[in-house]
Subunit: 255 residues, 2 copies
């Protein structure tokens, strides 16, 4: 079977979301408090790059190692410009609104969900500087560290154990914000052709099937219905139409 | 300042979502095709555990190593029962609906977003067996592998590079399904007390402030408004009421 080459690319956009930034992501800082695992730090940088965040702050006295750089694929710039602080109060002092993440209930603090945290963020002006604080992998944030937060949130999980990995918690948080931040997260699929063109295409196929003896008096109505149902559900695009036309015009004729 | 110990825990539920499973998560299989990085495989198992998925399938000829077990915190049971297949067609043969993930556009395949994929899943019966297929870290799924998928989806990202890490792509996919799967993802916060109780509490505070000379003829109206605004916004819970009552009854009186 041969048919004319088709332009498959027409109308297809790239599956990423440049530019669009309804939440002003540049005002967000991701703050890691005493992270232990260098690979996690690199994965956090990568998750930030994936979702369009760029300011990383680290609380703790240590150096980034090659392990962090290895997992920060295409994101080492974020690591390299990340400032270090010796305490959380210093790391958040210039911010306006601080969110601390927790995986467990706290005795003295009210805990909201990540979705409520996002709703709350959206009620403040777009230049409000926001910190997202994540604790150490094993211990999380201490109560004294939580006092630096305006709000404390958790990410729903199925069971008590295991908790989300540190980089996973950052990723889900940033992805949730990213979803809110961009209007055009829907894929840019080729639009369906006009209904008349769709019908013409289906009728063409019917004619071809009739010519080949597949369609006859006793099954005509039923087969027609089935064909309309099947190709109707595809909501044919121009690409689909050209492909099907080629198949039924040339493919079947040549057999 | 001293006040009677308060029961902070009343009305607070644990921040996890047991049981609730509107999507029947047990029918989903996560299928990794030729994964290279053992740590990723362990992180995938952990992400599955976090979000309530349990069936992992692996295509490829290799053994799980200690690295995979190390990152599969509290999730090694998923790894240990994961079957291995020598080809993707074999790994999906008993499933009904297969979703392949991609980070780039494909010439011949229509690509939908992860949110559209979830919408589509919800249109099929709850016993439809579903496979979620993820390719190798470097190469993704080949076109020939994508032919095994009914639908191909991508996770929105900001720029072409970097793509999501393999474990990150699985996590976002499963978390998105998990969010759809549970009705009670909202935090179970203590309900506000009756509006009368809220007002009584605010009036009590006003009285205390008056007694202390803070409230007087010239500022009465304004301070009253400010106080109603401030404590109104808190939508006081029983815990809040008891705490504030203690602070203003005992705390201030003792000074």
């Amino acid at each position: 079977m041969k048919f004319a080459p088709l332009s498959y690319n027409s109308g297809m956009k790239l599956p990423y979301v440049p530019g669009d930034d309804l939440l002003n992501r540049s005002r967000f800082s991701v703050i890691l408090v005493n992270p232990e695992n260098q690979e996690n730090i690199g994965l956090v940088a990568r998750a930030m790059k994936n979702t369009g965040f760029s300011c990383l702050r680290v609380v703790g006295k240590f150096k980034l190692t090659a392990e962090a750089l290895r997992t920060a694929v295409h994101s080492t710039d974020i690591l390299k410009k990340a400032p270090f602080y010796d305490s959380l109060p210093k790391a958040v002092s210039d911010l306006n609104l601080v969110f601390g993440s927790t995986v467990r209930l706290r005795k003295a603090f009210k805990v909201i969900t990540i979705d409520e945290a996002v709703s709350r963020i959206k009620t403040y002006p777009l230049d409000t500087k926001i910190g997202l604080v994540f604790g150490n992998e094993r211990t999380g944030l201490s109560d004294s560290e939580l006092r630096q937060a305006n709000f404390i949130y958790f990410i729903p999980q199925v069971s008590r154990q295991p908790s989300y990995n540190l980089a996973a918690a950052v990723l889900i948080t940033l992805y949730t914000l990213f979803r809110e931040s961009a209007t055009n997260l829907l894929s840019q699929v080729p639009p369906p052709i006009s209904r008349k063109e769709q019908t013409d295409c289906i009728e063409l196929i019917l004619k071809k099937l009739e010519k080949r003896g597949f369609l006859h008096e006793t099954n005509r109505e039923h087969v027609t219905d089935l064909l309309y149902d099947l190709f109707g559900r595809l909501a044919l695009s121009e690409r689909d139409r050209r492909f099907l036309t080629a198949v039924f015009n040339k493919g079947l004729d040549k057999e």
